[in-house]
Symmetry: C2
Subunit: 200 residues, 2 copies
DNA sequence: ATTTTTTTGTTCCAAATTTCACAATAATTG
DNA sequence: CAATTATTGTGAAATTTGGAACAAAAAAAT
């Protein structure tokens, strides 16, 4: 399977490439990208070579070509659909997050146990978790965000996997046990902040 | 300097330890913790040994003792103060995030360029960025959250560093250039989600 | 009291990741 | 058009990270 770290670097390269393009450049060298993203030039070249991205010796890499290929890697041309399970603080914030909307990422629906959340006050429709199967099947959803409290994390995860979800972004503070063909990215906001207090 | 990865693992161990304690246990073995957190028992023992945490051969580790020591590592006994720069979507969500409040993490103030945000409608006082110095000095703040748009990230970071901030949690999608005694943790919500679409 | 069992703490080993080094080659210069 | 220079692409070296293995020690069993 593909290296998860290098995948995430590609998304950084992409942001950097767009920046260079806005500045009027058409070509970049590996050390331009590396410097901007904070990795070595060799790392950039290795990443590119891993995905078959070609440059020209002495001429560097063509920005348009790189962006086009990266867009394909991440399916940026189609609509990319996601669901959110858990409409608490984090779930609600993600619904309103411009960063998703601006990048073809559509949050199709939210799910929650609390009926008080099934109102129209959110940017997206919110349903009972009973409806997960229906929504996933109807839209062929493959990607989900888990934003439920700790105790519910694993159970929700198991359900999602059984309904065909392949990629999970997990905000709940649990280590999820999943089959090996499922990819989980973890975001633990509290731990990211708290670890900084070690240095204070 | 200390290994950032093992620091974050300690916070996972902590959550797991609390879980075990709630279940009535007083001792754990490295493989209990490892299994729950998703690392090997050897990794747990290595981490503990790195921070001088002692167990007893055959008896395992004392949960209370581990928790007490981990609490010291992360200064959990005192109040831990933070400021947020950028009161957009993410900044606002973090203000209301229970996970911080429940863990002695106090968001002292928020800062934004937009005067429309200086109202009382947030859970914390929001000021002009001009006031950062005053607030940081008065409260001896050492930790900050950057939640501004891409273009402002580096500038805000430079300001913070010059005002004595030592740890930064960065939500802006830029690689921050900082002196080597400053620690930056990156959270890029969009990239974490987007990288999953590779697999769809 | 001795033996057996279990688990830690640590050294040694393996795998993965990153960096180095350099040949190959395309652009540029004279 | 030959010589020079700059940059890619990649195989080898180095580093980092995680895992296995085992001696030491404590508890339990006999």
């Amino acid at each position: 399977m593909v290296n998860q770290k290098s995948l995430k670097r590609f998304l950084q390269y992409r942001l950097s490439l767009i920046k260079f393009q806005r500045l009027g450049f058409e070509k970049v060298f590996s050390y331009n990208l590396g410097k901007d993203v904070g990795v070595t030039a060799e790392q950039v070249r290795k990443d590119f070579s891993m995905f078959g991205l070609k440059g020209s010796k002495r001429g560097g890499y063509d920005i348009k070509y790189l962006l086009k290929t990266i867009d394909e890697i991440f399916k940026r041309n189609g609509e990319r659909q996601v669901i959110i399970i858990g409409m608490g603080n984090i779930g609600q914030a993600l619904c309103n997050y411009q960063g998703f909307k601006e990048n073809n990422i559509i949050i199709v629906a939210g799910f929650d146990l609390d009926p008080a959340k099934y109102s129209k006050k959110y940017a997206i429709p919110v349903h009972s978790t009973d409806k997960m199967e229906e929504v996933i099947k109807k839209n062929s959803i493959r990607t989900a965000i888990i934003a439920v409290p700790e105790f519910a994390g694993q159970e929700v995860c198991d359900q999602l996997v059984s309904l065909g979800i392949k990629g999970i972004l997990n905000f709940s503070p649990v280590n999820l046990k999943v089959p090996e063909d499922i990819v989980v990215n973890y975001v633990n906001l509290r731990n990211e902040l708290e670890s900084l207090f070690y240095y204070t």
